[in-house]
Amino acid sequence: MVFTVYFCFPSVFVNLEDGLDKMGIPVLLHLGVVLVLSPLLLGIIGKTKACLTGRIGAPLLQPYYDIGKLFRKGNVYSTTTTWIFQAAPIVCLAAVLVSSLLMPLGGLKAPIVFWGDILLFAGLYGLARFAMVLAALDTGSSFEGMGASREATFSCLTEVVLFLDFIILSCVSKKIVLSEMVQGNALTSWHLAGPALILMGVSYFLVLLAENARIPVDDPATHLELTMVHEVMVLDHSGWDLAYILYGSAIKLFVLGSLLVNILIPSYHLSPFMQTMMFSGGMFVLSFGIGVVESCMARLRLNRIPQLLIGAFVLALVGVLVVLLKGA
């Protein structure tokens, strides 16, 4: 493989080499942080909901326990399935993990930064989704097919909204680099394009809910397959696969959330420590917010969900126009 790179583009190969050994440590560190912290968000959300409904609720670390329990369990595979069914969770988790490498976490700078990495960011999520949908279809169960269809449908819309938000960000900071866009000169950009960023924030929040299968788009806790979107896709997964999937969705929530937090809390000018503090605070607030939303809203009817997403789309569109007016 290395040889092939060499053959293809010797000059590039050089900086690939030193690039690799320079980024080794940060990458591992970043991955570690993400792996450790991400399930916590789910815990916070659960706790919030419990409190708001006046229950004590599960402990904060419950997601860790669940995943751990699943890691100790064996697998059941349908005779219909092929290797794709087993590979999908792995691909999904790996893609989400790697995508986190492009995302700065407060003081913790993103280990991999390059021009146009948002496209890769989006691409990785696309890959994960592709894998999961295939896995769902692999079981040949009509329910999972239904879930897959819904997932595909909504993801088309969310992806568009996501890109609109990217357009806003990249117009504000004349860059298409994720960490620059979300942190770079956020403060000045707030002066410049405050309203646009607010619109973007709202629409992105809706995308966040939809992508992570939260209420009002989807109810992770429902027990009726007909109404599920995301959960119904993983009905047949068990053991490690299910663990990977849960872990993956936790990380997804974490990464996507951190994007929002990075933007809404402009903290690039502070010291890394303060930055980290504000970041983690922001994450807490975010998960609390999600919890509040979930406990005070009901799940929408399926045919209303596109309307919700299109609403988000319109919001983002207005944001773009505002930016263009400011920018031009």
Partner: protein, 646 residues
């Protein structure tokens, strides 16, 4: 160049030999394979040699023709297209030989002859340096591809599809005639070089551009000129559809790029037009594709979608050119070119594997298939690779070219004025939407065909197709992975070709700023692969200690699930189609979401109706009464007398 001439010579000789030995299948078949290999290798050599040393080569045939001279040559642009042509023709040819081997009632050598003729004419199209040679090759391409399409001409549907293709292509050609003649008249010569020397007035360039977009767009399949495409591709044998959709429709793109190369300055709305066409064709193509349930028809619509993506790249590139922004122009064109190559590869792969599905199961109806991955492992996995590539997902080649196009659009937003920003923004959104929909469409296709259980037909007797068919597909898949993981060679080639469109010296810095991010992409992808490996390893290890059981799919409490209860492709696509129904204006029929073509129904059919009606009405002229006939003559005479004498 000599290599190219040799390969042309080989092909021509083979054509005559096969025509002579038409009676003896074996001999002509061997001639076909041999000449195919020879010619492709030679063509590949010439293409690569030109691409590496970016020095164009020319060849004059000292030979007088009524207008223009016989003048062919290769520059980076032609060489890039030549690369795609030779690779795909080589592989598809071998596949086709194996695909048709068992068909004993037809005379294959005729088919092979036309295959070679198409090969020759495609090479000539990209190599032509003179408008007349170009047009000749263009027409030969049309006619030979027509006979390839109508291989199964016993079926009426196939004949109609071929007829539609033929008339659409020929009608488009008239626009090209006028366009080239106008250019030649203005430049004083029909050679492309002299044309590119001379400067054209603004009004003329606009007209030429429109003519070019119509004439070339028919071939390329821009919406709404695409009507022939979804009919023709399914009608043809699979390797032919692979070639058609892989390279032949790209000749339209090549022609447009050549046009841009020759006339450098356009009015601004041309770029807008190109971007709009890109958006409409891209989104429309993929939406129509979602509604299809015949695999090759679905793939055909995806060709339209990818042509749309290419047009987006060209549009933004043209815009950059008009604003004298080399960087954007370079990335845009490079993205478009690379996508041309990539689409040739993965669409070829998809059509070939679809063909092997059809060859084994004798049906292309997605809703009747299912669970083939177990029975056609090679076909299935190769199709999967093609599917991921065409969705533009990382790890495969589609991602690289779409990355370039995306990047060009973003750069465009930074560098341009208001309206440009609006359009490139629209382009970005469209591209994002296309990505999502394509993913949906191919999860649907792959899932319904290869996963789950078979819905109608009995899989048990199916077996994998011979290796002569799998090997070409495997090679194509290999190219997908290679370009996806190590894009540098192809990207640099594409950059070279792009810089020949917009004649600036690609500064190494510019190249670096384009290449190095891709390098980082590669790094991330390598990390991704490592992560996957690690996770798999962990799971493997753990599986040693944990129990694994097999059972049926959980029926959610339903007691007697059957295969026919699986979620079908129609129902999968239905939810998306319902959202976009109003947007596209197509009608989703009850029951199965069958999609009706808007342009075909509401634009072209009425036109034909009008023509038919008029001709039917005017047939009264020949009423049968001699007296009337004599009267015509007399009236005409009087008319002339009064017109000319009085």
């Amino acid at each position: 160049m000599t290599f190219l001439l040799y390969s042309l010579a080989v092909l021509t000789g083979a054509v005559f030999l096969m025509a002579l030995t038409a009676r003896f299948r074996r001999i002509s078949g061997n001639i076909f394979l041999f000449s195919l290999v020879m010619a492709s290798v030679l063509g590949l050599f010439s293409a690569i040699s030109v691409l590496v040393s970016r020095a164009p080569v020319d060849y004059h045939l000292n030979f007088r023709m009524p207008l223009g001279e016989f003048f062919i040559g290769l520059d980076s642009l032609s060489a890039f297209f030549l690369l795609a042509i030779t690779v795909l023709f080589f592989l598809a040819g071998i596949y086709g030989y194996a695909y048709l081997k068992d068909d004993h009632k037809r005379n294959l050598s005729v088919h092979f002859v036309f295959y070679h003729l198409l090969f020759i004419s495609l090479i000539l199209v990209v190599a032509a340096k003179n408008a007349v040679v170009f047009l000749m090759a263009w027409e030969m391409m049309t006619i030979s591809s027509y006979f390839l399409i109508t291989f199964y001409h016993e079926q009426k549907s196939v004949r109609d599809a071929g007829y539609l293709y033929l008339i659409a292509a020929h009608a488009g050609t008239f626009c090209l005639w006028v366009m080239f003649l106008l250019m030649g008249q203005h430049a004083g010569s029909l050679n492309f070089d002299q044309m590119s020397m001379s400067a054209f007035p603004d009004t003329l360039t606009g007209l030429l551009f429109v003519l070019g977009v119509i004439g070339f767009g028919v071939k390329a399949g821009f919406i709404p000129l695409h009507i022939w495409l979804p009919h023709a591709h399914p009608a043809a044998p699979s390797h032919v559809s692979a070639v058609l959709s892989g390279v032949m429709i790209k000749m339209g793109i090549y022609g447009l790029m050549r046009l841009i190369l020759i006339i450098k300055i356009f009015p601004e709305w041309c770029a807008v037009l190109l971007l709009l066409i890109g958006i409409i064709s891209g989104v429309g193509g993929v939406l129509y594709a979602l509604g299809q349930h015949e695999i090759k028809k679905l793939l055909a619509y995806h060709s339209i979608e990818n042509i749309g993506i290419i047009a987006l790249g060209m549009g933004i590139g043209l815009w950059g050119q008009l604003y004298h922004n080399e960087f954007v122009a370079l990335i845009g064109y490079a993205g478009a070119l690379l996508h041309v190559f990539n689409h040739a590869i993965f669409k070829g792969l998809l059509f070939l594997s679809a063909g092997s599905v059809i060859r084994s199961t004798h049906t292309g109806e997605i809703d009747r298939l299912g669970g083939l991955l177990k029975y056609l492992p090679w076909t299935g996995h190769l199709f999967l690779i093609g599917a991921i590539s065409i969705c533009g997902l990382p790890l495969f080649n589609g991602f690289v070219s779409e990355w370039l196009v995306f990047r060009a659009l973003f750069e465009g937003m930074f560098h341009f004025k208001m309206n440009a920003i609006v359009f490139s923004g629209a382009g970005i959104i469209a591209l994002a939407l296309i990505g999502g929909l394509a993913a949906a469409c191919f999860t649907k296709a792959f899932g319904a065909i290869f996963l789950g259980n078979s819905r109608s037909i009995d899989n048990s007797h199916l077996k994998e197709n011979p290796w002569e068919m799998c090997a070409p597909m495997a090679v194509l898949a290999g190219i997908c992975v290679w370009v996806g993981l190590f894009p540098f060679t192809m990207v640099s080639f594409a950059l070279g070709a792009a810089s020949s469109i917009y004649p600036i010296k690609t500064s190494p810095i510019a190249a670096g700023t384009i290449i190095s991010p891709l390098l980082m992409v590669v790094v991330v992808l390598l990390i991704l692969i490592m992560a996957i490996a690690v996770l798999t390893l962990l799971k493997r290890i753990s599986m040693k200690f944990l129990a694994i059981e097999k059972s049926l799919t959980w029926g959610c409490g339903y007691s007697h699930p059957t295969n026919r209860m699986q979620y079908t492709a129609s129902s999968f696509a239905d939810s998306i189609l319902r959202i976009f129904r109003t947007v596209m204006g197509y009608s989703v029929a009850k029951g199965s979401s069958h999609v009706v073509e808007v342009c075909e129904e509401f634009i072209f059919r009425p036109v034909f109706q009008v023509i038919k009606f008029l001709s039917a009405k005017l047939k009264i002229i020949q009423c049968g009464y001699t007296q009337w006939y004599l009267l015509y003559i007399f009236v005409f005479l009087l008319f002339l007398l009064i017109w000319k004498m009085v």
